[in-house]
Amino acid sequence: MITARYHREIPQRYRLEAAKCSSCGHVSFPPRLVCPQCKARKFEAVNLSDEGTIVTFTVVRVASDKFSKETPFGVGIVELNDGVRVTAQIADVHPDELKVGQKVKLVFRRVQEDGKAGILCYGYKAVLA
């Protein structure tokens, strides 16, 4: 069931592909049909920086079934170097070590699985830089 949606989001989840408004330059991630700043409808595809800073985070200790074997883990809002903010799971670190302001890098990881026999879903996660 998740195959079509997963496939549609590959440019964003794999390559951080955003839409830069051809009129005012505002960057939307994920891309939008209408620019929220100037209402223009023409965009060019740009790839966001894979480096940024943790703006805020929370620690998930009780997760939904798909993520219950990974607890505790951090989920943070990361401001990328080009100013765009993304929400990402923070991997390879015990959440007690997380702090606001830490430098992170977005890496390519397995994000979820569609059950035991379904597709594997990949995307970005943050790791401490």
């Binding site: 074997k69 390519f108 990881r109 990949y122």
Partner: protein, 348 residues
């Protein structure tokens, strides 16, 4: 001149010490570390697999190669732990890296030498003039049955090599392959863990094939072991590569840099390619490098590389293997390791 134009390696952060595994099964830790010369091994994170390792290694290779990913005409990933039984790992990698869609993609499989196979075919495509660049990768999240000797060595990691003919950092001068039907190690369809022939994996398998490829390569190249600055062989444990190096006439100094297995474990398809990446990190122009892989079943691929002046322009453009091996490690206990490697039976 055709050869490597960009390379990169990746190792997960997680480790388990050989003594922790030995204690779990009531084995003598000192005997294991002394006998196999293995101290600890890498363990993939719960969200890491052959594809994520390949992507990380290939990103570093692209940074060093400084090329447009769209110019890569073929992507081959060699592994015995492809996440899908049916769906090539490279299909995911090309979309992650912006390669393709006009690209030839395939998954390779030949026990521990699937990575060098991928490198060999990538090199051949460029040499024939069929394409400008081709990417060959060896990566694994190796399986070892609980309590089996393989559990001390089966680790995770990989290396990626972009072959090309412009701005070559290591020219490939000679290659040679040596293959026979030798059932030393195998995994039947649907089985979770491989089986092996114990001591049969030594002389009739590992040593026969590596020596066969290496001796033919020395003859073909008209070179002698002392001509090389470095040599790297497949590393199923600490002992075998040292022994085969000695039998062929290489010194410990020539083997030292690429001999990363005591602290990394056996990254299977990524083993000798990862050692090669570690050598390229420190190599100097005109150094000659001798590499022979080994894959059970069984076969060996041999390569002679000559490092070019371009190497110094790329070494610092991406993380180096030794840094990944020695820093930022997270050690696991056996319970965490069993969970990470999905060795615990759970409800669906």
């Amino acid at each position: 001149m055709v050869g490597i134009v960009g390379y990169g390696a990746y190792l997960p952060k997680y480790r388990i010490k050989a003594e922790v595994i030995a204690q779990q099964w009531g084995a003598d830790p000192a005997a294991i570390t002394r006998g196999l010369q293995l101290f600890e091994k890498t363990v993939p994170g719960q969200d890491e697999d052959t594809i994520t390792i390949s992507v990380a290694a290939a990103r570093s290779a692209l940074k060093r190669a400084r090329i447009n990913p769209k110019d890569i005409g073929a992507v081959y990933i060699g592994s015995e732990s492809h996440p899908y039984a049916v769906k090539p790992s490279g299909t995911i990698l090309i979309d992650a890296l912006g390669i393709g869609p006009h690209v030839h993609v395939a998954s390779y499989e030949f026990a521990c030498k699937a990575g060098s196979e991928a490198m060999y075919v990538a090199y051949s495509h460029v040499k024939s003039g069929e394409m400008k660049y081709a990417l060959g990768i060896g990566a694994d999240t190796s399986q070892g049955a609980p309590g089996d000797a393989l559990e001390y060595s089966a680790s995770a990691g990989g290396a990626a090599f972009i072959m090309g003919s412009e701005r070559v950092v290591a020219e490939i001068l000679f290659t040679h392959s040596y293959t026979s039907d030798t059932p030393d190690f195998w995994r039947r369809e649907g089985e979770s863990y491989p089986r092996h022939g114990g001591r049969f994996t030594g002389d009739p398998a590992y040593f026969k094939h590596i020596m066969g490829a290496a001796q033919a390569l020395l003859e073909k190249s008209k070179m002698k072991p002392e001509d090389f600055a470095y040599a790297v062989f497949h590393m199923p444990n600490g002992k075998f590569p040292q022994e085969v190096g000695k039998r062929l006439g290489f010194t410990k100094q020539q083997l030292e840099v690429g001999w990363v297995v005591p602290w990394m474990g056996n990254t299977y398809s990524g083993s000798s390619p990862t050692g090669l990446a570690g050598i390229l990190d420190v190599a100097k122009p005109n150094d000659l490098i001798f590499m022979v892989s080994f894959g059970s079943g069984a076969g060996s691929d041999g390569f002679v590389y000559r490092v070019t002046d371009e190497i110094t322009n790329v070494q610092d453009r991406a993380p180096k293997l030794r840094e990944m091996l020695d820093t930022n490690k997270i050690h696991l206990n056996y319970g965490e390791y069993a969970k990470f490697r999905r060795k615990i039976k759970l409800n669906d």
